[in-house]
């Protein structure tokens, strides 16, 4: 034993304590934590990628489609002005007045022809040819060739020559309200004047179509 001063040496023995198995509650807690975190991440992922993004993309696509549709509508609405629309419909309404609607109309035309030819000492004979249909969408239009043979009879004490009478008849027929196109004219004469003539008229006949139900909006109203 000596009189050395106290040292500040620390105990050097290695200390060990017993191990304890983790409690079941700790394992449950850790499992719950992991499950909650994974569940939270999964929920967020699902909400973002499976719900939000597809819906947003669909909304954008629809917005684009609506915008494109609006542009197309603008073009369509500007295509026909209100005045054009009204004029077309008005003229279309009056269209049937220019056409021979039925046999009665043809008979009436023949009667008028005879009425006009008789005072001019022209004997008219009419033969109708085969109907030639015209291409339209739904309006049934065709023309009927009408071969008008005229026998020119002399008129005693008349100042008008057959040539002049034939011209007058032509003018009157041209002034007819219905559409009757003079397609052919054949005139035969002798040394003095015309003896006979043949006129071929294309009589336009048509049947007014059944109008479809009018559009809900006034097309081309702008």
């Amino acid at each position: 034993m000596s009189g050395a001063v106290p040292t500040s040496v620390q105990p050097r023995a290695v200390v060990m304590t017993q191990l304890r198995k983790p409690k079941r509650s700790e394992a449950v807690f850790r499992t719950i934590v992991v499950l909650v975190i994974l569940g939270s991440l999964a929920l967020t992922w699902w909400a973002f990628t499976m719900r939000f993004v597809p819906t947003q993309n669909r909304s954008r696509e629809l917005t684009t489609a609506v915008s494109r549709l609006s542009s197309e509508l603008d073009v369509l609405e500007r295509k026909w002005t209100k005045e054009e629309t009204a004029e077309i419909r008005a003229r279309y309404t009056e269209l049937h007045t220019q056409l021979f609607a039925d046999t009665a109309a043809l008979q009436a035309w023949m009667s008028r022809l005879e009425e006009m030819a008789a005072p001019l000492s022209l004997q008219a004979t009419v033969e109708f040819g085969n109907t030639v249909p015209q291409l339209t969408n739904d309006y049934k239009v065709a023309f009927i060739p009408a071969n008008v043979s005229l026998e020119v009879h002399p008129v005693p004490n008349s100042s008008e020559s057959p040539y002049q009478r034939l011209l007058r008849l032509g003018q009157k027929l041209a002034a007819e309200g219905k559409r009757a196109d003079l397609a052919e004219m054949t005139v035969a004469g002798g040394p003095t004047s015309i003896t006979k003539a043949q006129l071929v008229f294309n009589l336009w006949a048509g049947e007014e179509p059944v109008e479809p139900a009018p559009a809900t909006q006034n097309g081309g109203s702008k």
Partner: protein
């Protein structure tokens, strides 16, 4: 809670500043408590009378808290108990987990009480082949009573230390030469605790003896001699340089013990104070102190705090996830509402477009029909042409046949005639000139007739009848000049002509 995460800078001769605890020394029947706040002893208390029974720990602790006015959360215990024993055991030269498992088996084997053992160990210097381990054994059932008692008082039992830990530390404070081995004996509340250790901090042996030198000095001396003999046997002459006594009655018993022990016996230079054990325990380094509580139990508050923090973080993650998910779902719902509105708008626009397309088709169709029936109505051109002939035909000619026929998009013209019947026949060539004039007029305004060759007579402009006089060549040139190149006039037997052409 912050102090739970701070590492104690202990191991010196003062209580670290970050220590706030209630340190209890329960040495057999002696129960003392010291309240330490931030490294400073605030109050101390000794329970009067006998304090026995592990089941009373809760009650004693409650009294200690009340008497000391302790406000902290942890409690440390220095325990001297008849069931707290030390064993020196041999272990194979292994380390780490293998050594831990060996010690665990040794603890279960060496315990002298029924039930599971709580233990702590300290390594001793190596032997020649085996290493030695000093085991501190205590019944777990009693330890659990202490833990529950502390918990019942709202405290966390942070450590349960044997008094030998303080004595081990005190050996390093003895006046020893380097490498000297000393036997330090202390009176611990009715029992005697002894430690044999080196001045460099190595511990060789620790034991707890029943009785004290104040009551049975001779028996204690006998036990000390046996212990020294045992140590010499275990370590091959341990080289003990002296025996130091510490505790109440040490000075009085020193002479008695000296007379029976061959080594020098002296009183420890470390001053004994009534609360020495409680205060000294706080100066020890936890890393070198045999704590009978397991690491998990020692760190239970930290673990609880960590678990709480993890739980809070998890809840925050959950809340953030729910918030984000709610936001995304809400936005998705808004987008769906937008989609619904846009779909309705698209439907309306499509219906409107259909109407407009129908209307457009209708107007286009009507416009086409109007153009066909009203716009393309041809004028009575044949009648006009017939009227024009009276002006265009020269006076010396007479048209006997006239035909104007519409063929596709143009008119086909055919005129034939003769000369006027006059008394005096016209001179030769006059007819041709008149025909040329007629053709010239027809080719001009307003009808612009394009003359054609007579059908069936290609290449021949004027045909002469057999046996009749020929049309002069100059007339042919005039006719071609006034008409078109394709025009063809045919003069028949001097008084007939025929013209063919077409016009639009």
């Amino acid at each position: 809670m912050g102090s739970l995460f701070s590492k104690r800078a202990v191991g010196g001769h003062v209580i670290p500043h970050n220590v706030t605890t209630l340190c209890v020394s329960w040495l057999n029947n002696q129960f003392k408590a010291v309240a330490v706040h931030r490294g400073r002893v605030e109050s101390s208390w000794e329970r009067p009378g006998e304090s026995d029974g592990a089941g009373n720990f809760e009650k004693f602790l409650r009294e200690a808290v009340k008497e000391t006015g302790y406000r902290g959360h942890t409690v440390s215990l220095v325990l001297a108990h008849p069931r707290l024993v030390q064993q020196l055991v041999d272990a194979p030269p292994v380390k780490g987990m293998a050594l831990l498992k060996v010690i665990q088996r040794q603890a279960e084997h060496q315990k002298v009480f029924p039930g599971e053992a709580a233990w702590a160990s300290q390594t001793s210097p190596y032997g020649k082949v085996l290493q030695r381990v000093l085991l501190h054994l205590f019944p777990r059932v009693l330890l659990n009573q202490f833990i529950q008692g502390a918990r019942a008082n709202g405290l966390h039992l942070a450590s349960v230390l044997p008094p030998s830990a303080m004595l081990h530390h005190q050996i390093t404070q003895l006046p020893l030469e380097k490498g000297d081995v000393a036997l330090l004996v202390a009176e611990t509340g009715g029992s005697t605790t002894l430690v044999i250790g080196r001045s460099d901090g190595q511990i060789l042996l620790a034991r707890t003896l029943t009785g004290t030198w104040n009551e049975e000095a001779e028996r204690v001396a006998l036990d000390l001699n046996r212990t020294i003999l045992f140590a010499n046997q275990q370590y091959g002459n341990a080289g003990i340089k002296g025996v130091w006594l510490f505790g109440p009655g040490a000075e009085e018993s020193c002479k008695i013990l000296q007379s029976q022990i061959q080594f020098p016996v002296s009183v420890s230079p470390v001053a004994y104070e009534p609360y020495y054990w409680a205060t000294e325990a706080l100066k020890l380094s936890p890393d070198f102190t045999p704590n009978i509580l397991s690491r998990q139990l020692q760190k239970a508050p930290q673990r609880r705090a960590l678990a709480a923090m993890v739980a809070v973080c998890t809840l925050l993650v959950l809340a953030a996830s729910l918030t984000a998910s709610g936001y995304f779902l809400k936005e998705a719902k808004l987008e769906e509402a937008t989609i619904k509105a846009l779909s309705a708008q698209a439907t309306r626009l499509q219906a409107r477009e259909r109407d407009l397309l129908v209307s457009d088709a209708e107007l286009s169709r009507k416009k086409q029909v109007i153009k066909l029936i009203l716009g393309e109505r041809p004028p009575p051109t044949p009648a006009w042409f017939l009227a024009y002939l009276s002006e265009a035909v020269p006076s010396d000619l007479v048209v006997t046949n006239f035909q104007l026929k519409r063929v596709e998009d143009h008119y086909r013209l055919s005129i034939s005639g003769t000369v006027q019947q006059v008394a005096k026949p016209p001179p030769p060539g006059a007819i041709a000139e008149s025909v040329a004039l007629l053709k010239s007029r027809l080719s001009g305004s307003p009808f612009h007739v394009r003359m054609l060759q007579a059908r069936g007579r290609p290449g021949s402009e004027i045909e002469e009848p057999d046996g009749e006089g020929k049309v002069p060549t100059w007339l042919n040139r005039v006719a071609n000049a006034l008409g078109t190149k394709s025009a063809r006039a045919r003069t028949l037997v001097q008084d007939r002509f025929e013209i063919e052409g077409e016009m639009r």
